[in-house]
Symmetry: C4
Subunit: 275 residues, 4 copies
């Protein structure tokens, strides 16, 4: 990733900045990134505290100053990131680039629309780079297993989500007719919301069936919901199991030294030698 | 599915209609079905909005018009479906046929019994054809895995449901005696409803134990309920795991043509021939 | 189980009764048991309705009559069961014998202690014989898988339950100190009850943290609780998986000794030898 | 662990004490430890009862006496433990040593800071030695399986927890903006707490969305939360499955067909044949 030609002073500055900001395996880069992560944590805490009435009343001006301080700091950092790269646009439209932009936009946004600063908490997304910075390659491979599992099961999960949605609409309509508006089920959308709250076993209790028929229907929904919700757990478990297994096989072929054989393999799948 | 003889003009019309409505792999059929799916979505949204008081008060007549408009549209479509088929009765008593009928009945029904129109949301079931229309054969095979898993475990789930029901009745009776009617447990059916709410970990909180003995009993039910409810998840997981494994094998035996071999199989399990 | 000597008339009566009551594979026995199951269902429904105020007020005397009618019926049946067996005591102390006794005791009990009749709902336990009666041997083997799984994991579950209990006590004490009696956490036992309600994700909401520190502690308990409660699901899943496997593949190849063949396999999938 | 030289009387006393307190496989040690466990249970019950207002009002002085009685008893025991060991410091900083200290500190602590005695319930941690005392080696190996599984998946769980935390912050901020302070979402930290309550499916209901947009967002969080929370269950299940397998192994001896060999076995443990 380092620049190939470092002849001109401008290029040297760029190269140094790139090393500092992007290359977390150098000592300077590592230090920079650890400081950055701490600043992110402090700035998110600031945004959280700013939303608490009693704290804002007492330390409002300090919090406003910190908000702008961190925003300007992150803006400069964002500019340097763009400057240090040969293809700044590529970074700007990358996952991390968009997150870095989202971390500074809300404060400027709040000048026009009050309340925009609450989105400053999105800065916490920047913490995702913690994995890259701390060289937690093992953590990344674990994250890979989870992601592979979720990716592999995305079609099953789509089918499942559509089923749940259909069921929620139907069950919501039924409870709306059974319980009626007098018992709090004021509309079908509200009733569908209740059905989702019930099927996911969240169960706030802001809405609860009052009539005997409603309670019976709710009981069926709960039992049904539980049975249905066992499905994603099952799907994800099986996928994680398969994603893990791919990693598991550790036997090397005695003939060619190749690895990655299944446990029940008797011959190397690459050279045919007896394992 | 296409008609074999297309000599008479009547037959040609029928064949064209069949192509349009049922054959989603032709360009015309695909367009027709995508339009249909959008109309279904809009009509369900109409039914949902119609149940919201504030919206019905303002746009009541528009919503009523749309309701009848979609119902007549779906009625015509239903008639054409029946007409385009050689064996209309077969379609009429099929899964999709019944759903298509249920999508139009409630509006006519509401003329006699007010409130019937709320069942218009059942139209959302028609979305199930989304899988067929969009040729999502992969999605269908995923749905197959889930269905196979649920089917294979239906007996285990029956045993499990009966156990939960017995436990709910017994625990409900116990809490009714322990807590009494003064604390909201007004009858045993209500207490059984509470037991189901608790065992499925929904926990609305509309009923909650007040006495020390009741809280102790509730704690036991929760722990017990959790242990018991781990069972369906386990059952479904194992079945999905087996249903997935069964899917994996795509190799046909070169000797006898049998399919369904495991990935690690080297010989056909039916004829013993080398794979 | 049939009597060997059927010479004397007394013995013949006994044998006939035994056939009627216990031998559900004979036509008479099957009919008797199906009628019995329906009577059990009706009598439990009676007991449920009797606990509903509005129904008891109107049909109280009818329900009281039915209660005694069913009790006397079940008492006669219990007597005949004892009479028809050669070793009545053995039945009396068996699982089903105790359930059959529990089904009649509460009514007599209620003469001395009012409220005893609510335990009549325990009669529902008699439904367990539904599996035996309907010859649902396949259901029984499924129940076996679940029971085997639960049995095999009973030690793991004991360890798990003790851990949860220790955690609940410690977390309950912490929240009691953090939230205090002013916020509803009136005693440590109550707080422990809250901790169990939270860790099992039931979440009634009759008690909920009010202070910032309490909410933070509750968040930790929830996350912790979820991680911990994933354990029984995992345990049960693994055990069901192993209990299922035992049923599936038990045949070893006579040629190479390999296992793991499907039920429908006719040849070893590893060496091709005839199974 | 027993002392090697038992010449001097001082050493003999030490050795005897060590046998009594630490060696639960001797008869005296076993008796001592069983008595100890019962005393622990009684003392924890005392601490629990002491926090209940109505009981403290009536039996306050008795409970205070018992509290000090058990504390002094445990203090003496702790002293004897230190005395009986050659390297008392090693015990003092061990897991069990710290728990034993925590069991006596709160009472003395309560002299300075009232309320400190509530931490006496931490004594229940001492029950962990129940596994060691009762020689439940099988239970310990089961605990090992669970611990191995949790250890093996600690990185996956870290990744998962960070993801949940990020999601909770973002979803909390969104609901704060959507619902606003008028509907109870008084600050972003409170809203994050609500997001965690919702995602873990606890759902107290002390906070629940009131607006249509809020309910829609909440529905998405619930569905999302459920999908995400299927992950730890999947992770733990797979790890338990692998931790269990390590004990079992699936390789059959090629000579005699016997199963149940360890993974690192090179010869069949039944016939000695090469695996």
């Amino acid at each position: 990733m380092t620049s190939g030609c470092i002849n001109r002073p401008e290029n040297r500055l760029r190269s140094l900045l790139h090393q500092l900001i992007f290359e977390s395996d150098t000592k300077a880069g590592r230090t920079f990134n650890i400081i950055l992560i701490n600043i992110i944590l402090i700035s998110v805490t600031t945004a959280l505290l700013d939303s608490v009435h009693s704290i804002r009343d007492r330390y409002g001006s300090l919090l406003l100053f910190l908000e702008w301080f961190f925003t300007i700091l992150f803006t400069i950092e964002y500019g340097l990131r763009l400057y240090s790269l040969k293809q700044p646009l590529r970074y700007a439209i990358s996952f991390y680039g968009i997150i870095d932009l989202l971390a500074i936009v809300p404060t400027y946004f709040s000048l026009v629309f009050p309340g925009g600063q609450y989105f400053l908490t999105f800065r916490i997304m920047r913490l995702l780079r913690i994995f890259r910075v701390l060289k937690l390659s093992e953590y990344l491979s674990e994250a890979d297993v989870i992601l592979t599992a979720l990716m592999a099961s995305r079609r099953k999960i789509s089918v499942f989500l559509l089923t749940v949605l259909l069921l929620a609409v139907i069950m919501g309509s039924l409870i709306y007719v059974v319980e009626g508006e007098a018992n709090g089920y004021t509309s079908i959308p509200t009733s569908i919301y209740w059905a989702i709250v019930t099927m996911t076993t969240v169960g706030y209790g802001d809405l609860a069936p009052q009539t005997a028929a409603g309670k019976m229907l709710a009981s069926i929904i709960m039992m049904l919901g539980y049975a249905i919700l066992a499905v994603p757990t099952g799907i994800v478990t099986v996928e994680i199991s398969q994603a893990s297994k791919k990693k598991v096989s550790t036997q090397a072929c005695p003939a060619c030294g190749a690895e990655g054989h299944d446990y029940d393999a008797k011959h190397c799948k690459y050279c045919g030698g007896r394992l």
